[in-house]
């Protein structure tokens, strides 16, 4: 079989088990639910005297970050260490024009050092997929790949930890109205969230953004589009804010961050249009005063710090499930 030639979903092995986590798109609801269910007992491990379980003892996890990220890399590192894995962090800056080649060369070298898992963050969409394909093609598909964010494509563990957070506070996905607000155009987080929410049966997923920050055809993912934030927030159970990705802006997509805040910043006044018990989420890092007001970020409806804590348990669950599926 040439690489993934015959497999319908490159993330699954021949037994239909999760071999890699590259994207939420195409994963069945039962698989997502199982990951969330598995994360629950891992969250208890953090309460113990010894915050470690021995599942990945003797395994080597390489964090390959071709793009900077402190929080995501740290939570993956903590998660792997709580599973007793040996963790090696590589922060590789990408100046090379041919990024694909650099990634595969790096991976080949690390595979030669008996790597068991790669956690990959890359500015190019599809880089983790390319790596998984390369490992399969070279007969090293016992090495698992976890996508820690690739370009504008996907950030599946962020999407899953967001689902875990929503389920923790709201219990039943099938009764919810959820709004995703902000820079959807550049956001891999938004794509993973949308795929996860629709797969888990959320009846109404709204996307709120200026036209310039919406990819064309976003409606095809099964979302309702709002350009007016006040209208879009009315009656929602969950507000999922996105970070305004200044570093990815090319050309004049926005007049100014002040203008943006006026129309799309989440203030207590705009939040009051949502349900009184609505929760506010943000994947971090936050631009206070740009997409979110400090009064909201630090307010009683924000669950932004619990998201970070849940993220460790969700990443433990993902890594433990993958490493057990050889």
């Amino acid at each position: 079989m040439s690489a993934f030639g015959k497999q319908p979903n490159p993330q699954l092995n021949s037994h239909g088990e999760l071999q890699h986590l590259l994207t939420i798109e195409g994963l069945p609801r039962e698989m997502l639910t199982r990951i969330l269910d598995t994360a629950a007992p891992f969250s208890e491990v953090a309460e113990r005297e010894v915050k470690k379980v021995p599942l990945l003892r003797g395994k080597s996890v390489f964090n390959l970050f071709f793009e900077n990220s402190t929080r995501t890399r740290t939570t993956f590192e903590i998660a792997a260490k709580r599973l007793s894995a040996d963790v090696i962090n590589l922060n590789i800056s990408t100046s090379s024009a041919n990024k694909g080649e650099t990634l595969l060369d790096t991976a080949d070298n690390l595979a030669a050092m008996q790597a068991d898992m790669f956690v990959v963050r890359h500015a190019s969409s599809g880089a983790p997929h390319l790596l998984a394909q390369h490992l399969a093609a070279t007969g090293r598909d016992h090495i698992h790949v976890v996508n820690a964010g690739d370009g504008r494509h996907a950030h599946p563990t962020q999407g899953l930890l967001d689902m875990y957070t929503i389920r923790h506070y709201k219990t039943d996905f099938t009764q919810l109205t959820i709004a995703i607000v902000g820079d959807v155009l550049h956001s891999r987080v938004a794509r993973s969230q949308i795929h996860a929410l629709t797969t888990l049966g959320v009846p109404e997923v709204r996307v709120i953004a200026p036209k310039t920050l919406l990819p064309t055809g976003i409606e095809r993912l099964g979302v309702r589009v709002f350009n007016d934030m006040r209208e879009g927030l009315r009656g929602v159970d969950v507000v999922m804010m996105l970070r305004l990705q200044n570093e990815r802006m090319q050309g004049a997509l926005l007049p100014s961050t002040q203008e943006y805040f006026k129309s799309y910043g989440l203030t207590p006044e705009k939040l009051s249009l949502a349900k009184p018990d609505a929760i506010v989420m943000h994947p971090g890092p936050m631009n206070r005063g740009v997409e979110i007001d400090s009064a909201v970020a630090d307010g009683g409806q924000a669950v932004i710090l619990p998201q970070v804590t849940f993220g460790i348990a969700v990443r433990m669950a993902v890594m433990a499930m993958l490493a057990g599926n050889s």
């Binding site: 088990e17 598995t38 891992f42 969250s43």
Partner: protein
């Protein structure tokens, strides 16, 4: 041990196990830890029958199993809950059926990640033989011998009644 011709009465064994333990537990100081899922049911029975003060704990050994690398992560892992301080405690691990001893090994490893108990005992309803580790029960009112291809499973009815069922692998 005789080869099983009929299955033991789980309810009667719960009562017999409580009787066997009664002289050896201190209701104010002994803590039970049941192993998911059958052991948790038995621990709840023993807790009531012995009038213990410390709420029973529960353990799911999925994260400590020695067959993880062969069989992967167990699909329905439950959250372990130890509602008392393990450090210096007298703990009785409770399970339904003692077989290879591997689950008990995993449970003891897990308990030590919460602290260092003063003493650990093991209480089971029945010992079906087939040990693969040097582990013996402290309290065990019944034993039988089963072929390796059979699983002896404890089940709980809607009314809470416990019974054994034999499952062919």
């Amino acid at each position: 041990m005789p080869v099983a011709t009929h299955l033991p009465d789980a309810e009667a064994l719960c009562a017999a196990l409580a009787d066997a333990m009664r002289p050896h537990v201190d209701p104010a100081a002994t803590a039970l830890v049941g192993i998911h899922t059958g052991g948790v049911w038995v621990a709840a029975r023993l807790h009531a029958a012995l009038g213990l003060k410390i709420p029973p704990g529960s353990i799911d050994v999925s994260f400590y199993r020695d067959d993880y690398h062969q069989r992967g992560l167990h699909a329905n892992a439950k959250t372990s809950q130890i509602p008392f301080d393990v450090e210096g405690a007298h703990i009785v691990i409770v399970d339904d059926v003692l077989h290879t001893g591997r689950t008990i090994r995993a449970a003891m490893n897990e308990l030590f990640d919460y602290g260092r108990p003063a003493r650990i005992d093991l209480a089971v309803l029945t010992d079906r033989g087939g040990r693969e580790l040097p582990i013996a029960p402290t309290f065990c009112p019944h034993s039988l011998s089963l072929p390796a291809a059979q699983i002896l499973a404890l089940e709980r009815a809607d009314d809470g009644g416990l019974s054994f069922r034999l499952i062919e692998k």
